[in-house]
Symmetry: C2
Subunit: 194 residues, 2 copies
Amino acid sequence: MKTSANTSERLIESTRELLWERGYVGTSPKAIQQRAGAGQGSMYHHFDGKPALALAAISRTAEEMRAAIDAQFAAPGTAVERISAYLRRERDVLKGCPLGRLTQDPDVMADATLRRPVEETFAWLRTRLTDVLAEGAARGELSGALDPAATASAIVAVLQGGYVLARAANSTTPFTEAVNGALGLLTAQAATQD
Amino acid sequence: MKTSANTSERLIESTRELLWERGYVGTSPKAIQQRAGAGQGSMYHHFDGKPALALAAISRTAEEMRAAIDAQFAAPGTAVERISAYLRRERDVLKGCPLGRLTQDPDVMADATLRRPVEETFAWLRTRLTDVLAEGAARGELSGALDPAATASAIVAVLQGGYVLARAANSTTPFTEAVNGALGLLTAQAATQD
DNA sequence: GTCTATAAGCAGATAGAC
DNA sequence: GTCTATCTGCTTATAGAC
């Protein structure tokens, strides 16, 4: 058995990086090959073409993101504590969300196969966060007046929008501010609970 | 004087549409010419090249957005009412924000000239919203415990992130939910005020 | 599995005629 | 102002040798 990363593996990882940095439309097979140190023929031997390679890359990114979030939410603590930890965990803010950015890519959104992992992951995340919030409401940590699903969507949107603001400003400040603002609102309404 | 739209005008408008639909990297001079009904030579007569045309398009979009938001915030009403009206105004949700999407474009962000209108518009928007929130706090409509700047960033982020979620889901639902969630939090904390 | 050759078409212009 | 010709290099492969 081989211990070093094989060519197929390097191609997938290179594609993941380039999709994150430049998007699908901005990434050429040639750029992938160069980053992976693989030749033209080698790439087309392992994958049918750019869409197939992108699907492998996007699927892996989606899986990793899901696993990371699952671990985060499974940690002990109140709903607000776990959400706070999730929002404040270390991130490469200026690079943005590797999945969220694909949402702006016309060729990804136009291809049902490429689109599916993106769609499913965000749907799953919103559901997962809704559960955490509903749990918090059931325990009396949060106001029952809040709609858990709406609040969950707002929180995920703050994250995704925070990336947008950070990139626009070329600074992590607006991202941090947005997260603080969201948590400020969440704890301010919790103060209503007494 | 001419009354019909001239070629230069049509080129700018076509570029604006394409930047919105496909981004800078995904838009070719040829596509712009075809949409504008202009020839190659015609385009290069009026503009130095793709970056110059994009700058004209992006600048105009930024100006329009700023004027629209200014009008929105100048309307009468409490801080929460004006913010609610802003968040809930009619939008082409699935198309996303024409300026926010450029944030994901590597070639726009790498070019200081193209980047500036995007950066300035979002900086201005956050400041403007911060003023509205500070005003609300001064009037006693909102809790003084909230940081106006952080809350403003969170609200703008909800909007930008709402677009991302809507595109991921291919549905306006998550956008509406996120807006409702944000307004829910804002009014819930206002309930603390008594 | 990897390499080189080949190819139709697009990207992003420049040059000069009209 | 607009048009056609021309150009270099990239895109996204396919074919076949090694």
